[in-house]
Amino acid sequence: MMRDDTSIDISTSLEAGDEQAKTREEAGGFLRSLLNKNLRVTTTDSRMFMGSFKCTDTESNIVLQDTYEYRQPSLQALQKQVEEAVGAAAAATIKADMTSRFLGLVVVPGNHIVKMELDEFVSQMRK
């Protein structure tokens, strides 16, 4: 089993064939360790998709299952919430809800991905 803190230095391991094979093994191991974990994938249009990781390929195209889409509140909605907050003379920080929507099985093409995050329960993390 792959340990979470293993780091891979790609630039040096590309040198020798052995090294390369080893790196590839490690990379594959890392990706496999992510399978069925919850990923948050942010796309170029700043939406975020949260779902369980099922599949990937060399171009980082990602298949997520049971995915929810989260969208930053629209400008109008944000403005409205600001107005309401001001009206209520509330706290200094304004909390705006992201709108969410269930999508199910999705493919996020690698070229549209700007960020990937791994969600883990603190209780299940290995330090």
Partner: protein
């Protein structure tokens, strides 16, 4: 047995049950995960992930073992414009900038309501809510978040209680409440009956509650209140706009009333009041449609992104008001008409009602068809007051068993197991159980769209085949109990066995239904343009074969019924038992009237089909009707397939039926093409057949509703009969035109060829050169252009001056 039953039931499962599952799935979805939680840590793995992926070979995948690539085909591709409904074009905003709280002019409210009317009709016609009513900003604002009370059902949220609501907002809100509530009822009714999801109708509500939690009466009162408020400000708004708005609100009240009353299934006259009211209100609504000011901003496809759907927004379905108006008129007429089904006095009238009602062009809307099913089958109480047993016994009494001991209700009360009546009650009950589903399925199937009717009937005949076989076993048990003596019978059709035969009433009944279904399948084939022009001769021959079989079968039933009546009369003695009472006389008379009408119907079908078969055969010989795509090529040169293979496909539904046996291709081909019979004889024969059909239809048209078994639907039935009569006349005109053209003196080779063709040793098809010089052309009309969609009568016209004049 079970396998074929399952085919039929699958056919019905395919209708609506799937949707229920679908909706369940929707509700089973996991709740959206919480974005930020103390117990969850997110780590950025972007770089590492990309680097790791880069080491994979092209085409190499890292995937979960349980995840198949097959599944991934169904995945939505994010950022793909066609698939990803959340994908915005550059600069596009997620929402439209429309303020539902803005003040509205009366003409704008009218414009919005009229647009909603068009959208409502589009939904009735089968478009999803997402492209119709749920594109309204006002309705979206009203339904989100889902209102739990009347007060919450408003597009202006958090309306202060003390501030009076703007009148125009009150009117629009009341209208929307009425609209959405009636949509809920319509949707619910359709979902409760058999229909084809997405083919007939889309019941998906995209998780919008459609005011489930708001009461019908609350909505009604709100509309009444809005009308009162509207009335109070009538001096401030243009009079005609005020009236126009009021009519629209009244329409909503009437619609809700019609829905409410339809639950009752009582006296059709009182139930039809709101429908006739709507019909009347529609006229001023239609006349005032130009008064409204359209508010296009109040409708948006972007709302679809918020619905529980993964479809990218699709355009709003835009019917013109004129189109909408036509459909609404039809809806209101049909709504009042369909109630008349409750007047059906007997099962045969009911069957004729359903058949004639559904055969209308265009077919009634899905909602009306659902209402018809609801009236017939709700809670398995037929038409609101009859048990299935009651209906079946009545049907059996009409068709095969008038005044029969088999159907005596007293049999059920006999408790002594040795009494034959005890056994009879048991056997007949077994039969009812066996046949009930197949019997009711006929009525249910006829309520579907026309293509499905045909398809379902194709399965049903396999089912009836089995019912007939099982019924025959029961018949044999019953004839022992009844101590029935076989008789030698003679019928008008000179088709009588010399062997004594038993009456076999139950299987006779099943066989008659099977034959009717088989005829309907062929006739629906004509209606649905299933057959190519060159196949019409053969299919009309098969129809005439089926109709002839039915006529003979009914003659057989009649022979036994008459025999039984004579016996009962002869044995009649004065006294409370054993006498032939007027009631019995009436029941026999009714049954014989049914048998007579059925024989007549079968006979005209057989004659006219026979005539058309001959007519088409002649047209094929003269190359006036050829297979499509073959142009002027001879029929047999179709590059792929053969007539025999085509016959196998066409007749597939009938191949499994044992009686009447499907003719082998050779005998079918011989019977329809009739080689060796001269063309002139064929035309002569066709002429006689059609003349016979005409007499038959004349007689049929004269039958009163009681004798035609069309109580409650006589007008519609009579109109269909009249259309058949028109087809008969058209056929005789076509035959006469051919006879006249062929009798005309011709020059040289044409004359010789025609003479050869007329001779007994006819070569089947005339040479192309001869066909070209006949100066005739034939057109095969579309079913909708024909007088009757079951009788595709070709039109024969002379295209050029006859050769005689050319050469003289």
């Amino acid at each position: 047995m079970t396998e074929d039953e399952s085919i039929v039931s699958e056919e019905f499962v395919g209708l609506s049950l799937n949707t229920i599952n679908y909706n369940l799935n929707q509700d089973d979805r996991p709740p959206p995960p919480i974005m930020h939680s103390e117990g969850v840590v997110s780590t950025d793995i972007t770089q590492r992930f990309r680097a790791a992926c880069a080491t994979l070979e092209p085409g190499e995948l890292v995937k979960d073992g349980h995840f198949t690539l097959f599944e991934s085909v169904g995945a939505l591709e994010i950022m793909d414009l066609k698939m990803d409904s959340g994908c915005l074009a550059p600069g596009e905003l997620l929402d439209d900038d429309y303020d539902v709280t803005r003040p509205l002019l009366p003409s704008e409210v009218l414009g919005i309501i009229d647009q909603l009317l068009c959208l409502e009709m589009a939904w009735h016609l089968g478009y999803p809510l997402s492209q119709t009513i749920l594109t309204s900003m006002y309705i979206e604002a009203m339904l989100v978040p889902s209102p739990t009370s009347l007060e919450e059902a408003d597009f202006i949220k958090n309306h202060p209680d003390d501030a009076p609501r703007d009148t125009m907002h009150t009117v629009l809100r009341a209208y929307c409440l009425g609209l959405v509530k009636s949509c809920w009822y319509v949707n619910d009714r359709i979902k409760g009956e058999h229909y084809y999801e997405e083919e007939d109708f889309v019941t998906n509500t995209y998780r919008r509650s459609l005011l489930f939690d708001v009461g019908l009466y609350e909505v009604r009162d709100e509309i009444t209140e809005a009308r009162r408020v509207l009335h109070s400000i009538r001096s401030q708004i243009p009079n005609e706009i005020g009236l126009a708005l009021d009519f629209r609100l009244e329409l909503r009240t009437a619609f809700l009333r019609a829905i409410e009353l339809s639950e009752l299934r009582s006296n059709p006259e009182s139930l039809s009041l709101p429908w006739t009211q709507m019909k009347a209100i529609w006229e001023p609504i239609d006349k005032s449609r130009h008064l409204g000011t359209p508010v296009p901003g109040a409708f948006s496809t972007k709302i679809q992104r918020r619905l529980a759907s993964t479809m990218p927004p699709r355009p709003i379905v835009q019917l013109s008001f004129e189109e909408t108006s036509g459909h609404f008129r039809r809806l209101f007429t049909d709504g009042a008409e369909v109630l008349k089904v409750l007047n059906s006095s007997d099962p045969q009238s009911l069957l004729n009602f359903v058949f004639a009602f559904q055969a209308q062009k265009p077919q009634p809307l899905v909602y009306i068809r659902a209402l018809l099913q609801f009236f017939m089958f709700k809670d398995m109480v037929i038409l609101g007051h009859l048990s299935i047993k009651n209906v079946m016994d009545n049907d059996l009494a009409i068709v095969v068993l008038p005044c029969s001991r088999l159907l005596d209700p007293a049999n059920d009360a006999v408790e002594a197991p040795h009494d034959p009546r005890f056994a009879i009650a048991h056997q007949v009950e077994t039969f009812r159980h066996r046949a009930a589903q197949s019997y009711l399925d006929i009525f249910r199937a006829l309520c579907q769209n026309r293509c499905r009717v045909r398809r379902t009937l194709c399965h049903s005949i396999q089912d009836w085949e089995m019912v007939q076989a099982d019924a025959e076993e029961i018949d044999q048990l019953l004839q022992v109990q009844l101590d029935e003596q076989p008789i030698i019978y003679q019928t008008a059709l000179a088709w009588a066995g010399s062997e004594p035969a038993y009456s076999l009433p139950l299987s006779s009944w099943a066989y008659l239904y099977k034959l009717r279904l088989m005829e309907w399948i062929v006739q629906l084939g004509f209606e649905l343009e299933t057959y190519q022009p060159d196949e019409l001769a053969g299919m009309y021959w098969y129809l005439s074969y089926l109709a002839k079989t039915r006529a003979q079968h009914v003659e057989r039933i009649k022979a036994f019924t008459v025999q039984r009546m004579t016996d009962l009369r002869a044995r009649s003695q004065p006294g409370p038992y054993g006498s032939f009472t007027p009631a019995m006389e009436a029941e026999f008379t009714r049954s014989l009237a049914y048998l007579r009408a059925t024989i007549l119907d079968a006979a005209v079908t057989w004659e006219l089909a026979d005539g058309l078969c001959c007519l088409y055969t002649v047209l094929a010989r003269l190359r006036l009707v050829v297979a499509p795509g073959t142009g002027k090529q001879p029929l047999e040169e179709r590059p792929y397939g053969s007539d025999a293979l085509r016959y196998d496909i066409r007749m597939k539904p009938f191949a499994a039926v044992g009686l009447p046996e499907l003719p082998a291709f050779d005998s079918f081909a011989r019977a329809s093409a009739q080689p060796g019979v001269a063309t002139s004889s064929l035309l002569e024969y066709a002429h006689r057949a059609v003349a016979g059909a005409r007499k038959g239809y004349d007689a049929l048209a004269k039958l009163p509703d009681r004798d035609a078994f069309t109580v409650g639907c006589h007008d519609r039935w009579a109109a269909r009969t009249k259309n058949s009569l028109r087809s008969v006349i058209a056929a005789s005109i076509a035959i006469a035109a051919l006879q006249k053209a062929l009798a005309r003196p011709r020059d040289g080779d044409v004359a010789a060829s025609l003479a050869a063709n007329s001779a007994l040793a006819a070569t089947d098809v005339v040479p192309q050169a001869v066909a070209d010089r006949l100066g005739l052309s034939a057109t095969v009309p579309k079913p909708d252009d024909a007088y009757h969609e079951w009788w595709i009568v070709p039109k024969v016209v002379e295209t050029k001056a006859p050769p005689k004049h050319q050469f003289s």
